[in-house]
């Protein structure tokens, strides 16, 4: 049960990607997502593919691991490819067999779109593979800061995110414990008729909920006792630092973008 609930996908390693500041990493991935849409011919897509491939290599995350996590999405990529092969009817007929005919336009469209799709997924999963959830939270907090102007509770949100992340393992352990206790009493969670499975959920949820209400109250009291008074003037344990790697990485992307604009048709 517990091994099924492996959570978070961070893989520790020493690489430029890992050393980047979460802020610049999020910006990098965001920009990449926008830049991908510039590509519109074989050269530009090839360039993007090479860039992404080099990023993956430099991140030192085992490729097997990345692809393993993308299994479902790979099917989706394949599915879009097949759809385009059979349904886009543009250009010359390349292949004809009975009712099936594949057009040149369909093949091109299919390949381009699935490559774009695949690269997008690869880069976004690279972000979560090389950044811990708590780093991502810190990054999101800083990047959302401008929203404070419209009274969006950015600080509160970041605090809640870190509380959530801190308690996920605890809650998971508790869930596991209660599920085991119920299983020992003959309850089945993953099999049997639907009616029984729904009924099995109730004795799992009630103790979990009651337990977390208690815990929430304790945490609130503890925070108030230590003088928590909201966002203003709080200092941070984890400081974010912009370094050379960040600037270099963003510059590389800028160069790639320039090349894309140059070579697009």
């Amino acid at each position: 049960m517990m091994e099924k609930m492996i959570f978070g996908r961070y893989i520790p390693a020493v690489s430029p990607m890992h050393r980047m500041d979460p802020r610049s990493k999020i910006i990098l991935v965001f920009l990449f997502v926008c830049v991908v849409f510039i590509a519109n011919n074989a050269i530009t897509y090839g360039l993007l593919a090479i860039y992404t491939f080099l990023m993956v290599l430099s991140s030192k995350v085992p490729i097997r691991f990345i692809l393993g996590g993308l299994r479902i999405v790979l099917w989706l990529v394949l599915f879009t490819l097949v759809l385009h092969l059979f349904f886009t009817k543009e250009g010359e007929v390349l292949f004809h067999w009975g009712a099936i005919s594949i057009y040149e336009g369909g093949l091109k469209q299919g390949i381009f779109i699935s490559v774009r799709f695949f690269l997008l997924i690869l880069m976004t999963s690279l972000l979560t593979l090389t950044t811990t959830p708590i780093e991502i939270t810190d990054g999101i907090e800083v990047l959302l800061n401008p929203l404070k102007k419209i009274k969006f509770p950015v600080h509160e949100l970041a605090l809640m995110m870190s509380i959530s992340l801190r308690f996920i393992p605890t809650l998971m352990e508790e869930t596991d414990k209660i599920m085991k206790a119920q299983t020992a009493r003959g309850v089945e969670f993953s099999g049997g008729p639907i009616k029984d499975r729904v009924k099995a959920i109730i004795p799992l949820l009630i103790p979990l909920f009651i337990g977390s209400f208690k815990r929430a109250e304790e945490l609130a009291t503890a925070m108030e006792a230590r003088g928590y008074r909201g966002g203003e003037g709080r200092t941070k344990y984890r400081q974010l630092r912009w370094s050379l790697v960040d600037t270099v990485m963003l510059l590389i992307l800028a160069v790639v973008t320039a090349a894309l604009v140059l070579f697009r048709s």
């Binding site: 978070g8 996908r9 979560t128 991502i136 979990l208 109250e217």
Partner: protein
């Protein structure tokens, strides 16, 4: 925006984490695209306890957690923004019915409470899955070839998931409420409602 109580914030954070965990538990699968899960139950409970604002925040946190943990499907930028930053937050619309639910619970009118609860769950689910539906239309609009209707496809998948989730969540919450109404009833809520009633 009025400052949120610390306790409300912490409970919202916990329950977002809960939703994330429940999403990992074995769900009832109907084909590869449609899986019915009761992961929304914690957000609904929170909505009935604290109301609209807290549950919207909690839903939003759930979405952010999915992103931070990397449990996301990134298909197109717009689809991603809609599905992870908007859709989850909209579950909080169930919190619009917080006052009548608390009031009726206080007065022990069980049957009426259940009706409001089901209505609230339905509204929350529709609000959420509307966005998933829209994201589906946008995604298929961008990736699918001409001649395939993205609207119908997305409607079938998301509508099916929504109905399943609504029914499952309603059943679970009704069972929870009849076994332990104190999950929803907040301590000292009588004083707050008393002023308004």
């Amino acid at each position: 925006m009025k400052k949120l109580g610390l306790l409300a914030m912490i409970e919202a954070a916990f329950f977002a984490a809960f939703a994330l965990i429940l999403d990992l538990l074995p769900a009832i699968q109907l084909g590869p695209w449609i899986s019915i899960s009761f992961a929304m139950v914690p957000i609904f409970i929170l909505a009935f306890r604290w109301g609209f604002k807290v549950s919207i925040l909690s839903g939003f946190i759930w979405g952010l957690l999915q992103v931070a943990v990397g449990d996301v499907y990134f298909l197109t930028p717009i689809q991603f923004a809609i599905e992870y930053f908007i859709a989850f937050a909209f579950i909080g619309f169930a919190g619009l019915f917080y006052k009548p639910i608390q009031y009726l619970l206080q007065n022990g009118e069980k049957r009426k409470v259940l009706q409001w609860v089901i209505l609230a769950i339905f509204v929350g689910s529709v609000a959420r899955y509307f966005w998933h539906f829209l994201a589906g239309v946008i995604f298929w609009g961008e990736y699918a070839p001409e001649g395939m209707s993205p609207v119908i496809y997305s409607l079938i998948v998301n509508g099916g998931t929504m109905l399943g989730a609504t029914i499952l969540c309603s059943v679970v919450i009704l069972l929870l409420l009849s076994n332990a109404p104190r999950l929803v009833q907040r301590k000292g809520i009588g004083a707050i409602l008393g002023k308004k009633a």
